[in-house]
Amino acid sequence: MILDSLTVEPAALEARTGWAIKPQGACKGEVCVPLPDGTSASGAVDVQMLADRLGMPLVRDDAHDIWALGPDTGVTGRALTTAVAPELVLPDLRTDKAFSLSSLRGQKVLLVAWASW
């Protein structure tokens, strides 16, 4: 996730990473990692604290004064932290409108990555 400061709004964090800030901590699917008292969904979250708790790398480009917060390593140590599919919202090239993966709930889905290159 690209950041221009070391705080992040919970809604933006959840939309990009799938991690939601809840009373019990940072949660993804059935997994919740406790966060320090005072962390809540109603205010900006300290990114360095989150990175430490979840084992996320934080990489900086000094010249452009931006950060990238990478995915968690501290829960399962695998590419998937949970088998609950994350929400995915991306533009559909047929319509140029946003498409939500969750709109297909109730059907089986084969999600396939390809590329032009």
């Binding site: 996730m1 690209i2 990009r16 799938g18 084992g55 996320m56 790398p57 934080l58 990489v59 480009d61 010249a63 452009h64 931006i66 990238a68 917060l69 990478g70 995915p71 968690d72 390593t73 399962t76 140590g77 695998r78 590419a79 998937l80 932290t81 949970t82 088998a83 609950v84 599919a85 994350p86 995915l88 991306l90 533009p91 559909d92 090239l93 047929r94 498409f99 993966l101 969750s102 297909l104 709930r105 109730g106 059907q107 089986k108 889905v109 084969l110 999600l111 396939v112 990555a113 390809w114 590329a115 032009s116 290159w117």
Partner: protein, 231 residues
């Protein structure tokens, strides 16, 4: 490529969603248009699905059930055997120029099982959670690739790279692409994307990247390019 399979499985309750891992939208759009795709055909410029689902190569797929649970993690995915593969198998390499012969010689060594993958999909379509190919949540997580701090840092480096590339600063993106390649050398989407941005269509080394598809594939052995399908 996926449209024919989609026509077969959609009436039975399986939707196909394709995601193009392309920093440049216009690189992917003509393919979607030409395919006349009826299924959602998404564009993922930042390769967020690499991070969210564990894609490391193309084509890679994940299976998601009716309740939104992943029942197979990222793996090589094929829509069955296609006429293109028949045509490709029929090419006589000895008739080709040397550089093309070398490249296609490696491509021919890549091992895939498109028929087996399609059999698995059709079994899941028919039997759902009772299919032997549908895995439990614990198996799904355990079978997803290991994510070390190096792998996670590669994702962050790639994200900086694509962000700078799309912001019109390709020179600033290159060191971050290179760092992503160093940290996760088996992520072909990071490599092939970056190579394509400086030398579209080329699979050979250039003045920016000393790594390239043909050399890197030879180094790992083309037969290891896609891990085998494990039922």
């Amino acid at each position: 490529m996926w449209q024919d399979l989609r026509a077969e499985v959609k009436p039975k309750g399986l939707e196909i969603v394709t995601v193009a891992l392309d920093v440049n939208v216009e690189d992917a759009r003509p393919f979607v248009k030409a395919a006349n795709a009826e299924h959602p055909s998404l564009i993922d410029q930042a390769h967020v699905t690499d991070e969210l689902f564990g894609f490391i190569n193309v084509p890679n797929g994940v299976w998601i059930d009716e309740a939104g649970m992943i029942v197979r993690p990222a793996e090589a995915a094929f829509p069955g055997r296609s006429p293109i593969s028949e045509q490709f198998d029929a090419i006589d390499l000895s008739t080709l120029p040397e550089n093309l012969r070398d490249l296609l010689g490696e491509v021919k060594k890549i091992e895939t099982d498109p028929e087996g993958y399609k059999v698995a999909i059709m079994d899941w379509v028919e039997h759902g959670a009772d299919s032997k190919f549908a895995l439990s949540p614990d198996e799904v997580i355990a079978r997803s690739d290991p994510r070390t701090m190096d792998v996670a840092t590669a994702a962050a480096e790639f994200e900086l790279a694509q962000h700078l590339q799309r912001a019109g600063e390709p020179d600033a993106a290159i060191p971050h692409f290179k760092e992503a390649h160093r940290l996760q050398p088996d992520n072909w989407t990071y490599k092939r994307q970056a190579w394509h941005l400086v030398a579209p269509g080329s699979q050979e080394a250039n003045e920016v990247y000393d790594s390239c598809w043909i050399a890197d594939v030879k180094a790992i052995g083309a037969e290891n390019y896609y891990p085998p399908f494990v039922p």
